[in-house]
Symmetry: D2
Subunit: 250 residues, 4 copies
């Protein structure tokens, strides 16, 4: 085959005596030394987060973990109804619905804010907001169908970010975006929880393309919770029969 240098991964290696993850000994340097939150960050970012970063990362993951009986949670439960031999299938089914419509806000917001921060000229926020308005598009991270005045997660994550004492350029610009949008349209939209979490992930140095992965990680915890409840108190089968019954009415 010639040169195999392309075939390498810095994530994990094993010998009979040791397991190494991103250069650290799993048993002695990671287990019992770092939380799962720190481990998740470390696996992707290839560096351990600071205590302040961990605090903000934990809060953003907690904020995104669950949103009740979402399409994603319902898909996971309905998949479990038909395939109880494979919990991984039900979890995967739930994650597959965590796409552009709902969870995409997380990385859309990160990308939108990164583009503004990459523009050093004055009026960058105003131009970016106006461009979305002119194109008839929503501003990523603004507005929520239920929390019309304020998303309760938003002020809380800003407070935690302040306490964490780390640089938060994306979060800061997001607040300006909301103000500029309100001034330009005369209509104040709240910063939503997905948007604020996306800005927080970006401030932690995670690339936009990877950010959705952390929203998926957070949501996995929620989906497992829904499946645990489904095993105790199933609703999938009854939901199916209810839908069939109602659809059959004329």
């Amino acid at each position: 085959m010639g040169d195999d240098s392309w075939l390498r991964s810095d994530i994990g290696k094993s010998t009979p005596d040791t397991i190494t993850v991103r250069g650290r000994n799993l048993a002695t340097e990671l287990m019992g030394q770092v939380t799962f939150t720190e481990m998740a960050f470390f696996l992707s970012a290839a560096r351990m987060p600071s205590p302040g970063e961990t605090r903000l990362f934990d809060a953003a993951l907690v904020a995104l973990a669950d949103h009740g009986l979402t399409p994603s949670a319902l898909a996971a439960r309905l998949t479990w109804t038909g395939a109880t031999e494979s919990l991984q299938g039900a979890v995967a089914s739930g994650l597959l619905g965590a796409g552009n419509v709902f969870l995409g806000v997380v990385d859309d917001t990160a990308r939108f804010l990164a583009a503004i921060l990459a523009d050093p000229t004055e009026g960058a926020v105003e131009r970016a907001v106006q461009a979305e308005i002119d194109a008839g598009r929503r501003i990523p991270g603004l507005g929520h169908p239920v929390h019309k005045v304020e998303d309760p997660r938003t002020p809380r994550l800003y407070a935690i970010a302040d306490e964490a004492g780390i640089p938060i350029p994306h979060l800061t610009v997001l607040r300006t975006v909301a103000e500029v949008h309100a001034a330009a349209t005369g209509k104040a939209l709240p910063i939503n929880g997905a948007g604020v979490a996306g800005a927080a992930f970006a401030d932690l140095g995670l690339p936009p393309a990877v950010i959705r992965g952390f929203a998926l990680l957070a949501r996995t915890a929620g989906i497992v919770g829904h499946l645990a409840e489904e095993m105790e108190h199933p609703i999938g089968r009854q939901l199916w029969l209810d839908v069939e019954h109602r659809a059959a009415q004329e």
Copy 2:
């Protein structure tokens, strides 16, 4: 529709001002107050873990998060190679390979140990081990293809469980199972990392059917890490071309 009482979930509820998860206010009682590890436990178990339980749960999740270029990590990377529009598809693909062959050990071990603990008569371990030997089956949680003498995660998780100061009946029985198996067969097999994690999850009070969900949660962090690396340093496309090239040789 008549009675809708079947259609309820205790996991999440929203009003314009508040989001409630398992009875707690998400913004004020969970964000910034609990780690993502505690949140994941809380979502499924409907109770907050104690500090000792959290320490053991964190360590078990960290132990299971990654195992290098496994079939599961390769499937996620190859899926990303063909479908970069959907990170959730690549993560889901990786989770779908976390099934009975590898990750099933986690809940198989929990079930095997729970059955022993449910048998109050003397000699329960000996009988259970002998039954597996007689049936020509492997003992769940024993043996590892690479770590033939000792899996480095195992003594570490036992040490963390001791420090945590919580009751660990499953972990304790697992050690006895290994000793009884060695005595019965004359061949000492190490307790593997998946087995010890399964026993730890069971000692945390998680039902066997849900335990695989936490192995999936841990693995999601690893898969996201692999996809983050794949974006920086792709191997999926080259692996495909390499396989095609070698398969075409006669």
Copy 3:
């Protein structure tokens, strides 16, 4: 690399001028020469079906293609609601619910009948049926929640199999199984559509472990149909809001 002989597939090969599938030239010997049904059979069975086999295979695939607003169809639609960038994710989500509870009947029936046919001694059907009754298990392929007297697909598939003029040992034994069960229990259960399709696939020489794959192929056509309808006349979002609204009532 040493010996690469393990790394081969007889399914497909390409050169700059030709594509070969299972030894046949795709462009000149397959496209326009065989139907997709024959191609699907050929890809797995490595032989082309006879006209009679094709007729039975087509009918079994048609019988299994759709069952209305099943949990599987609902999961696909709800996944599409959240992730419109990835049709493959919605299709995959629908297939993940086609597991042991519903579609498993197809291969369970094939396995059950194959075990009976493998037993040359007299009374094999009676013993196999009685063993299931004694164990308190359902007989694979018998009974249907809606079609309590007769599943309309069953007599039709038997008639098509007769017309096809091919050996149908599994289908024949399935009829005996239903009679023996009725005699043993005094309760006549109809042969269901999944069971009769499973017996038909087995009579076509497909191994039980692969048979579920053809049920999945059939179901893919149905899921794509549901997603085509969902794009025209969406119900996923409204279903979600309806569920949330009803679950919020106390």
Copy 4:
């Protein structure tokens, strides 16, 4: 519940005696009367294809069914290696890699051609091709990494379309697109198999958003074939060990 009129599907309905699909009796009007190919078309298009349309549809599905050891086939096999309890998981994993990079060509081509056909002014092809060239983008449906001069599926599908005797505006424009592109760049690129199949699906009246669904249907047959071969002659586990071994070399 108020008005349930939104909750309806025209695809399938059941009574104790009958199953109706898109208005036809499944047992008497579909099974034994139509092929699976016609059924798949009917489920999505809500009309039965003509014989000529069926011939073209069959040929396009056959053309797309398999491409050897693709990333998608490898992901399905590796998923099976880790999770043999769930064939649907392995099939789903394979489909998840059938995304924008490879299979997206099918609907990208359909969309590109539809936009040209929607423009009644002269020079529409030239302008559309030039716009892609100016933007530095590939023309959807042109070029192939292996079949650099001619993709053998392309002339064959054109011949079948001619024989079918149905209107083929998309296929006709695609040929012009290739000529215009060659004239504009001085570099002749072949029309690839995915592009020609996408144009054929569009000529059959299928909407671009649904077209990828038929590529997925075709690919499901190929993935099931790969999994059938994997059960007989596994390569997933050896591929994993081979990758781990090579990645561990320094």
